[in-house]
């Protein structure tokens, strides 16, 4: 029973990670790719961690897993934010893919910042 749960979580996690990889290859621009790289990848890792936790439910393993999950959740947004900010400010933006762009307007007057 436990093995079945473990297998299910590991497979789901692998699937989510695979979709993150596919997203990186197939999505059209940097921002949509970052959605794949941050979210699907984080979900994939968390599912794998849950799977491992079910298989080895000892205090040593669980505390390490909790720490990995926590650091992942805290650091991924920071990295994504920095990449997004840098990309936007250096002009790596495909305007054809944007319906509304309120950041460009906000960045325009240089004296205001």
């Amino acid at each position: 029973m436990r093995t079945a749960f473990t297998a299910a979580f590991l497979l789901l996690g692998a699937g989510a990670s695979l979709s993150a990889g596919l997203g990186l290859l197939r999505l059209p621009d940097l921002f949509t790719r970052m959605h794949a790289a941050t979210k699907s990848q984080a979900v994939g890792l968390l599912l794998v961690l849950i799977g491992v936790g079910i298989r080895f439910p000892t205090i040593e393993v669980l505390t390490s897993l909790a720490l990995v999950a926590l650091l992942q959740i805290i650091t991924v947004p920071v990295a994504a934010h920095l990449v997004g900010r840098a990309a936007f400010r250096t002009g790596h933006v495909d305007r054809a893919l944007l319906h509304v762009d309120e950041l460009e307007r906000a960045l325009e007057p240089p004296g205001d910042g």
């Binding site: 989510a16 979709s19 596919l22 997203g23 197939r26 999505l27 059209p28 921002f31 949509t32 970052m34 959605h35 794949a36 941050t38 979210k39 699907s40 984080a42 979900v43 994939g44 968390l46 205090i59 040593e60 505390t63 390490s64 909790a66 720490l67 959740i73 805290i74 991924v76 947004p77 994504a80 934010h81 997004g84 900010r85 936007f88 054809a96 893919l97 944007l98 319906h99 509304v100 762009d101 309120e102 950041l103 460009e104 906000a106």
Partner: protein, 185 residues
Amino acid sequence: MREFTVRAGRRRAIRLPALVWLTVVWMLLWDRPTVGNLLSGLVLAVLLQLAFPLPPVGPQLRLRPLGLAAFALRAAADLLHSAGPLAWQAAGGRGRAKRNSVIAVPLRTRSDLILTVMAISLSATPGTLVLDVRHSDATLFLHVLGAADDAAVAKARRDVQALERRTVRAFGTRDDLRALAEDRS
């Protein structure tokens, strides 16, 4: 001028929450809690705070159990959800890629902590990505996946404000709650 205020803001001080947090992380790294780990963790936490002073973080974080439970449940659901639509879009290929939007959402609260918690949970929310933050008026700039018309943009804005409400109810101080209530009237 600005540089001066930033540096003056950094004070060498031992803060209890940071002390507890650093010690807990240290003990988690060592697998099992022992007295030796606890003591070495405490020493390390003190040394770290002396070596890398940080500016004080404004008003304190409150933890409101009910709001926190609602916030955590919703965040977990969002995180699981966020893998789904994206997988579909990736599988759909380039041809079907929808247009997206970059929107500005001004927050009603001015707390750095609320801003931080929101930025983290927005990263776990399906279809949103924080691109930039304007600190002066607490405005978040978000990339919203699939927001191809004005209705979708308006909905994204409402979703973010709903998240702000949940965040404030889970972590906000009384001032934050008041800022939220005033806006509604």
